[in-house]
């Protein structure tokens, strides 16, 4: 039996913990590359993997049900333990422990457990015992979908990508919406140009937006639904209060493993954690010029999962990952897709078009690497990527 340059053989058992996009792509890639050993996929969510970005879009719009957004089942040979969370990792014995106590031995382990919604409580910005509602899983989307039928006034805390998409969906469903944050919507995520474009669209659609650099605190009230208080003392309430303040890596199950888990599982440029462990997706912190950083985005999960599988098979012979930042959002009647690093500073060069609403816009920010964005304009990712090359953005 051939030993691959990564040291793994077809006698080895590969265990993958986390069965969403990164985990299923990892398994798929291993098999496509000819790995013939045993593979076990462990997933905490009780249903098949689905397209998570659709939750804040089609599912909330009421146009998608689970069947519309389910990812294709793995047709390759794989033992699936779906609906069972891993609760611990024992690196010395090379075992993972499942809820209920079962232990599964591995020769190689892939950590693809993703992330969970961050709460204001995690940031120390909530009164003790506040009932905080977040949005991350299918169940969260279905629950919110039901609540929106009563057209509640919705208060969204956090005007990042998710908060803005939630606000947009709630407005589309006939609710009124207030957004509060420490910053104007999306500035930290996208930079001033795209942030202002989307913030203005939100206000045109009727979203009420308030921010204060001193931050937001979730306060408990007598009736149970919390209210948000800005540092300047302004208070905002809603029939429904949603926290959308980012995500945290799903690493609680690794606390006793000996791995460093703060800020995500640090990987190398081939998504390796050690000689026997790889990690990919929202849980993984990839090397950047500013140190290890998580990039909880669709395309990052895909490319990291493929890289991790290649590293497991080929070791140092695998190509290191050069991340290809891709990002898209749909909110307040605007569809935005971006290639290249964000946030983008300053005013971009307009490449094509003159209005985001009428015919759409293509804009670019020169740089090494540059960024390019399309607003309400269908453009293949390959073209957008090419547009982000500095020589294609003439100032």
């Amino acid at each position: 039996m051939a030993t691959r340059t990564g040291g793994v053989t077809d006698r080895d058992h590969v265990v993958v913990v986390g069965a969403s996009l990164a985990g299923t792509t990892f398994v798929d890639t291993l098999r496509r590359r000819g790995f013939g050993g045993r593979v076990t996929l462990v997933g905490a969510e009780p249903h098949a993997a689905y397209n998570r970005p659709a939750l804040s879009k089609g599912v909330l719009a009421g146009t998608d049900d689970l069947a519309d957004i389910t990812l294709p089942p793995l047709s390759c040979e794989v033992d699936e333990r779906i609906g069972t969370a891993a609760v611990a990792l024992d690196q010395d014995r090379r075992e993972i422990v499942l809820a209920g106590g079962d232990r599964i031995g591995y020769d190689r382990l892939a950590i693809t457990t993703g992330a969970r919604a961050r709460r204001l409580a995690d940031l120390g910005a909530a009164d003790p015992g506040v009932d905080e509602t977040t949005f991350r899983h299918l169940g969260d989307a279905l629950a919110l979908d039901r609540l929106l039928t009563a057209r509640p006034h919705v208060l969204v805390v956090g005007a990042g990508i998710l908060g803005m998409e939630l606000a947009s969906a709630c407005l589309d469903r006939g609710s009124t919406v207030t957004l509060v944050d420490r910053q104007p919507p999306l500035h930290a995520q996208l930079g001033p140009y795209l942030a202002d474009l989307l913030g203005a669209a939100a206000e045109r659609r009727g979203a009420r937006i308030a921010h204060d650099p001193g931050g937001v605190r979730l306060r408990a009230t007598a009736d149970g639904t919390p209210i948000a208080e800005l540092a300047d003392g302004r208070r905002f309430g809603g029939d429904l209060v949603l926290s959308a303040v980012g995500c945290l890596p799903e690493v609680e199950w690794l606390r006793s493993s000996g791995l460093s888990v703060e800020g995500g599982i640090a990987v190398d440029t081939r998504c390796r954690v050690s000689t026997t462990v790889v990690a990919a997706g929202d849980v993984a912190a990839f090397p950047t010029a500013r140190g290890p950083r998580r990039t909880p985005l669709w395309n990052a999960a895909l490319e990291q999962a493929r890289t991790a599988a290649a590293a497991l098979l080929d070791g140092d012979a695998a190509a290191p990952l050069v991340p290809d930042p891709l990002f898209w959002t749909e909110q307040f009647g605007l569809k935005v897709r971006v290639s290249g690093p964000m946030p983008a500073a300053g005013e971009p060069t307009v490449v094509e078009g003159d209005s985001p609403v009428d015919g759409g816009l293509l804009v670019g920010w020169p740089g090494e690497p540059g960024s390019a964005a399309a607003v309400n304009r269908r453009i293949p990712i390959t073209r957008l990527r090419a547009l982000a090359r500095p020589e294609n953005i003439t100032t």
Binding site: T25, D28, D64, L71, P72, P380, T382
Partner: protein, 62 residues
Amino acid sequence: MKLTIDRDRCEGYGLCAEAAPQLMHLDADGELVLDAPDVPTSAAVVAEEAVRVCPVAALKSR
């Protein structure tokens, strides 16, 4: 295996065509064209990857 496109969902990102260039491409207008909607067994895994990478769940296999 058979591939189908939900035209109402498809936004023409083209990640599918990158994953499975032997099965599909974007035309000059950025519309997805399936070159092999009836997927040969040998390409089934590639086809599944194309379905999985679609950001808007517009490509389906059955």
